[in-house]
Symmetry: C2
Subunit: 319 residues, 2 copies
């Protein structure tokens, strides 16, 4: 099958062995896959991953290695964390398979990913995509779920003043998730054209250079830089909450002093459940402006280049 | 009056002008004062403070510049944060004067401290010390309150497994506060003799070099070092809580990646309300082993030297 393979360098191949679904898993033909910043980090050595990257996808179930044959033929997205489901696993027992220490993660850890014609995933990870949601929107389910994860972890109330730091694709998707709370949102970033995608009656946008000295009840860090972290801390009210949505390279100068002095609560936040994200996408919100480009698989390496460009939003691969 | 004064260097003087209580404040004759690591940090430039340091004290009210004359003659401890109490202050209105942006803080910011014969504090900051609590124990109210602050911020349940990182005086006082929750406590540190002060049926102690690979529901960082922070993160369960009790010098290598990947919640934690700490001290727990030495004011500079020694616990000054 066609696949993008990373092993020290990225290579597009057309003879990668087609996977077979292990017991309890489905074989899925991928229609479309997204490129995430994590995939770019993987090409720099993140997680020491080798194999097929990619964890954003939509596709059709072709085979099922279990009794649940009714999945065959359905169009699906899927949770990327594959838990051990053992009876004595603290996390699996508590419905937190996303934190199961024995988990594999699609295209990130111990499992080939979705930048390929076929993948396998446990049947329990699958969600059917409604007919009304086209592939290029359904593929946003996983990254949007990372935004909705915030609402699983903390309560955001309509009276809260929320600051979202960063206007990349993650920051813009988080804006959509947080908009469902009714809270007042301010988004700060460097790019007027990206901020324009969320500006409106329910969101104030501010260019970084013009940021006033305000502090907010809830701040959501979506830049992944130490500067963004320190900026976020400075703009969190005493006793406020700071959600950390992206990993920050270690060795950088993060200042934890104000976290103690102002008694800030920092909430680390990663993958989310897919259901609320897919429901939101099915509600018909227009996400087309978030897609910077759709490339055929034959141009995957070019697509990676495009995804690496400053200012790029979501880049998709069509198989 | 006698006072210790910091202005580029520490000096003990005996001709510092005795303060006068402003409207709403009490003049307090200090019996005993404690030296905190914050005082040592002040002598290195922390907060840019100049004047009389010190914020741990017990003393007797001598004068009151308000109608509340009944305080005169009472033995007291006092909250070190002096809020603005203006009607339009978000923090004062919400009973969070400790975070009032207009506050002064005894011996730390904008207000002379307790390493002096006399101090003034707002009457509303005072708590009477029960006769059963001697001065050298009452003076521990403020640092112990920093331990009880944790219980104001988060719920710790009897089924929680708690790790306290650090066996300095802060870590040992935190142990006392957390012991009131009924949770199972493990304390890790470098000093067998200090760990011995909390070891017992309700607390397991572990030497740092012998720490196993365990993770805990709640981890409390009380070392103030980047190494201590990274160690604490590594020993916090996915979705667990990490309480940061001491400031970490910026510019050090704190690794925030596992905070995001394991969705850890970090709770910055500073000063606490004095009431629960004073109640606990009044219950008769023996704290004498936490006191490394009591010096007369004339030997304050020696006392500071003693407080700076590795392994020192609480050093007190008697006036």
């Amino acid at each position: 099958m066609k696949a993008l393979v990373f092993d020290k360098e990225l290579k597009a191949v057309d003879d990668f062995p087609k996977p077979q679904a292990p017991l309890g898993e489905a074989l899925i033909e991928v229609h479309m896959a997204g490129i995430c910043n994590t995939d770019i980090e993987i090409t720099k050595g993140y997680m020491g991953f080798t194999g097929i990257p990619g964890h954003e996808f939509t596709g059709t179930v072709k085979e099922v290695n279990s009794s649940e044959k009714s999945w065959i033929g359905r169009r699906v997205v899927g949770d990327i964390n594959c838990a051990c489901n053992k009876a004595d696993c603290h996390y699996c027992r508590n419905n937190l398979g996303r934190h199961c220490p024995g988990r594999t993660t699609l295209g990130i850890y111990g499992r080939n990913g979705s930048l390929a014609e076929y993948i396998t995933l446990p049947v329990e990870n699958l969600l059917e995509v409604p007919d009304s949601v086209p592939d290029e929107i359904a593929v946003l389910t996983e990254p949007l779920a990372a935004g909705f994860e915030i609402l699983e972890q903390i309560n955001i109330y309509p009276h809260d003043e929320v600051l979202i730091v960063g206007d990349g694709k993650l920051g813009l998707l988080i804006n959509h998730a947080v908009s469902t709370t009714g809270a007042s949102i301010t988004q700060v970033g460097k790019h007027p054209e990206k901020l324009g995608l969320v500006a409106g009656s329910r969101c104030t946008t501010i260019l970084l250079d013009e940021m006033p000295d305000n502090q907010y009840d809830v701040v959501i860090e979506a830049t992944g830089s130490a500067d963004g972290f320190n900026f976020s801390v400075a703009h969190t009210r005493p006793r406020g909450r700071l959600v950390l949505k992206s990993t920050i390279a270690s060795g950088q100068n993060t200042d934890m002093n104000p976290v103690v002095v102002n008694e800030i609560t920092i909430i680390g936040s990663r993958c989310g459940l897919l259901d609320p994200a897919l429901d939101y996408l099915a509600s018909g919100v227009d996400f087309s402006a978030l897609i910077s480009g759709i490339f055929p698989f034959e141009k995957t390496l070019e697509a990676f280049q495009a995804a690496r460009q400053k200012g790029a939003l979501k880049i998709l691969i069509r198989f």
